[in-house]
Amino acid sequence: MSGIWIIAKMSLLENSRKQVFHVLCLLMLAVIGSSTLLSIFTEGVQIKILKDLCMTCILFGGAALAIALGATGIPNDVESRTIHPLIARPLTRTQYLMGKFVGTFITVAMGVAAMTVAFAALIYIYEHRLDTFLGMAVLFTLLEVAIVAAIATTISTFASPAVTAVVTFMAYIAGTIKIGYIGGLIDKSQTGVSKGLYALIYHALPNLECFNLKSSLVHHDAIPAAYLAQVAIYGFCYIAFVLVVGASCFASREV
């Protein structure tokens, strides 16, 4: 455990110095701040649009950070050869991979926390109270971001940063529209081979839409606790599975 934590701290320091982290955080904060300019709408609709826009910003910003940081962590270490003294120490490759994932996730969580503070301040200004739904929505956003970071970390064990970023982004988009659109492709496909291929892709993709509780925050709709528990368990299982796949890929790789 201490090995994982040491790598995570190192990864956190390395990631927090990257320009992409600062640029993306500032960009998302600017979008959240500028959402107050939506004063052309009436009061009731304005706060709903503000919540919708800010939550989308946090979701997209968190995913973009997870992709950008997760895709570059391990390949940069391999390229700069800083991985050699690390894996020569009493540290397994699985611990190294887990440390990289935890470091990436903590860095992204810091960015998401900054965006959430700005968003909560805006809600407080408009509604003169803090929204209790916000905490829950952001927690599930963090779980979604952790899945994206796990996918990026796993793909980065065998692919270049550019390929990792593109494939992870495609998986993120496809995972978001999975039930509504890719599910329809399976029903429409004619041949058994294409149906099987679509079904394989469909079941391998993460079901990211279920982590999006934006509409609950906007409309204050109650969500069944059993559903939330199922989504949380599903998220943790998916992260664990993807990281185990990544660890087995990284174990057999020449560095």
Binding site: G183, N207, N212, F241
Partner: protein
């Protein structure tokens, strides 16, 4: 806005092709009300557990065979 203007606007909105783009009535609701989301999550968890059990079983069999070979 007058009643006739509202009726015209309503008729235009109903005639728009937007309704045809919607996949189904259930997809217009929240995802926690749609059974397909729960079913897919359950299917994926079962599949992940199945794949993990298969891989672990394979590893155990491989180790057992290797030990038997070493003894023999």
């Amino acid at each position: 806005m007058g009643k006739s203007a509202r009726a015209v606007a309503g008729a235009i909105l109903l005639a728009l092709p937007c309704r045809a783009w919607a996949h189904g009535a259930e997809e217009l609701g929240h995802h926690w009300d749609v059974p397909a989301y729960r079913a897919e999550m359950l299917t994926q968890v079962v599949m992940m557990a199945g794949v993990s059990a298969l891989v672990l079983g394979g590893m155990l069999v491989r180790n057992a065979l290797r030990r038997r070979k070493e003894r023999g």
